[in-house]
């Protein structure tokens, strides 16, 4: 059976083609101002990679902040539901999922069947999501892709007190004026996000094993900070930003 999952996130749209439970094609395009058009492009690119036509796909389910935008999907599933199904398909032993995307962080606790037991969503403040690292990378004049590796060279922990992105940026500016080494500032930024994400995860109750998904899990500095904060091992998928789309495709298969 061939199904598709479309994850219309705040910054990117991801499409996955699932063929008999295996990912046969995937694609990611910027969401831009028109999520519907982004979804079309991502879906077509994923079909191309899979080497199939639209008519070969039995069912399409969308998820993400813009899940109601695409006109060609058959059903929708919430982001939490998609994450849960996706991770359960990939790692059935996982009981806690932490998803950190561009604008939103989520923590989800699952039971042995992959059913959502509890969840928490943090999207009111960007300080617990990827947008925060982007703003901080700009303040440090470091390419975003290098921020994670930079922080691994840190030799000291510096507490960051601000609870919001705007105030945190002015705190970073103060550190710059004090000639604080950039690796230490980068680490302070990752520690701050990890602290917020860990608090949210503790609200739902952390049960091992724990998986980290979402685009921010590509940031090695953040992953280290979160591992240090939680004091446990964290499972990382090779394509962490595609887990939601995989989950949506699994929902399509199950339906």
């Amino acid at each position: 059976m061939i199904t598709a999952g479309i994850d219309c996130g705040a910054k990117n749209v991801r499409a996955v083609i699932l063929m008999d439970g295996r990912v046969a094609g995937k694609a990611s395009v910027p969401a831009g101002m028109d999520a519907a058009s982004g979804a079309e492009k991502a879906f077509d690119a994923a079909l191309k990679e899979a080497g199939i036509a639209r008519t070969d796909v039995s069912k399409i389910v969308s998820t993400g902040a813009g899940k109601n935008e695409p006109r060609f999907t058959n059903d929708v599933v919430t982001e939490v539901g998609a994450d849960a199904r996706g991770i359960h398909q990939l790692y059935p032993e996982v009981r806690t999922v932490i998803d950190v995307g561009a604008e939103e962080g989520r923590a989800i606790r699952l039971d042995a069947r992959g059913k959502v037991v509890d969840f928490a969503i943090n999207e009111k403040c960007a300080a617990g999501a990827g947008a925060f690292t982007e703003a901080m990378a700009r303040a440090l004049e470091v390419p975003l892709e290098e921020l994670g590796a930079l922080s691994l060279a840190s030799t000291q922990a510096i507490p960051m007190n601000a609870q919001c992105t705007v105030f945190a940026e002015s705190e970073v500016v103060s550190l710059v004026h004090r000639k604080t080494p950039k690796p230490d500032m980068a680490r302070a930024i990752h520690d701050a996000i990890a602290d917020r994400i860990a608090s949210m995860a503790r609200r739902v109750g952390i049960e091992e094993k724990v998986a980290l998904i979402g685009g921010v899990s590509r940031n090695v500095g953040f992953v280290k900070s979160l591992r240090d904060e939680l004091g446990i091992e964290i499972i990382l998928h090779t394509d962490p930003e595609f887990v939601g789309a995989i989950g949506a495709a699994v929902v399509a298969t199950d339906q």
Partner: protein
């Protein structure tokens, strides 16, 4: 007829100039504001005055003055109610009653007294120890004090006969509201919570004699509706007893797949589990109703029956699947009780979700996302 009544109700609820009350005033009547939660409206009604629900400014009032009187961590209803006063929209009030529900309400009462000397401001000290031997005597004496003050406002003797007649009227009104709630609990596809809420709240903004026929006619129409049940979860909404959520938020809960089968919206206006006694001295009956006939509430301490037991009972009686805990931001009584409620719900294996609101909230996507996820996790096992 029903569409017309609901449109009129929405108009009254969204109108912070209180136009129906203004008409009453223009016709020579007196108006008494009732700040949440419970106000003994019978005392006001028996004096020939209009009890008017004053529950903040909703989404339409910009805070130009009140922010400078209160700290940033104070709930919206206190600020916007004061703002209504500063903007002259409460100029129609001859009196306003506050009660001992929280520190903020107590201080709001004093701030009102200082800023609006032309309005009679009274503060009801409700009893805190319901198992004391003198509790009904105390409550009766407090009601007598307030009655005597109101007599001076209306210039009419609020006699026992007048008060007994008012008890009959308000018992009838509360019984009709209870009928609407029972209909929604038993057949939620026939009456939405937004419809129920608008109709109910309109009754706090117009003369009760005018509202009773509307309730009777609407109830008959709701009952005769034919509608198929949707695939929804049944929920109890708890903690919105004082500041009221935006109507858009209630709509979001319903759209996201919830049948709200019980709630505590405007709880003070239907505060009693049983009718107020219609025989005997009326002040005594009202006092006894508060002490022994009130529902459980975060603003009424009663150790004889724990509040969280009351909530669990309500879930069972309404055959609800879950509880949506919906406190106003910075509402101390509700937020303190969340700890107790949460523990009891988890012990009883009743799923729950916390959704905080502010009266001026206008975007609900985060809440919609959370509620949809909650519903999805319960519906699709």
């Amino acid at each position: 007829m029903l569409t017309e009544v609901l449109e009129r109700s929405r108009g009254l609820v969204e109108d912070t100039t209180y136009r129906r009350a203004l008409d009453w005033k223009k016709a020579g009547g007196k108006v008494v504001g009732c700040f949440p939660v419970y106000t003994p409206v019978e005392l006001i009604h028996a004096g020939g005055m209009l009890p008017l629900g004053v529950v903040g400014g909703g989404t339409s009032v910009e805070l130009a003055h009140a922010d400078s009187r209160f700290q940033s961590f104070v709930c919206s209803i206190a600020k916007s109610t004061l703002e209504l006063g500063f903007q002259g929209r409460l100029g129609l009030l001859d009196a306003i009653l506050f009660s001992s529900i929280c520190d903020v309400a107590r201080n709001l009462s004093s701030v009102f007294k200082r800023n609006f000397p032309g309005v009679h401001v009274d503060y009801l000290h409700y009893p805190q120890n319901m198992s004391s031997a003198g509790v009904i005597d105390y409550m009766e004496s407090e009601l007598r004090r307030v009655r005597d003050n109101l007599q001076r406002v209306c210039g009419v003797e609020i006699s026992d006969d007048r008060l007994s007649a008012s008890i009959l009227v308000w018992n009838r009104w509360r019984a009709l509201i209870a009928d609407l709630y029972a209909l929604r609990r038993d057949e939620p596809q026939k009456i939405s919570t937004v419809e129920l809420y608008l109709l109910f709240r309109a009754g706090t903004l117009m003369p009760v004699e005018e509202h009773i026929p509307l309730l009777e006619a609407s109830l008959a129409e709701f009952r005769s509706r034919t509608a198929k049940p949707r695939d929804c979860i049944r929920v109890v909404v708890e903690a919105a007893f004082c500041e009221q959520p935006p109507i858009g938020l209630i709509e979001v809960l319903e759209e996201a797949g919830c049948y709200i089968v019980d709630d505590d919206l405007l709880r003070g206006w239907r505060f009693f589990d049983t009718p107020v006694g219609e025989e005997g001295p009326p002040l005594r009956s009202l006092a006894a109703a508060y002490v022994d006939g009130s529902t459980y509430s975060s603003v009424r301490h009663d150790w004889r029956k724990k509040r969280w037991e009351g909530l669990i009972d309500r879930v069972r009686l309404s055959r609800a699947d879950a509880v949506i805990f919906m406190p106003a931001k910075f509402c101390e009584p509700a937020l303190f009780d969340y700890v107790l409620y949460r523990e009891a719900l988890e012990k009883a294996s009743i799923p729950h979700l916390m959704v905080e609101f502010e009266e001026k909230m206008w975007t609900f996507e985060r809440t919609r996302n959370e509620v949809e996820t909650f519903v999805e996790s319960m519906l699709f096992d």
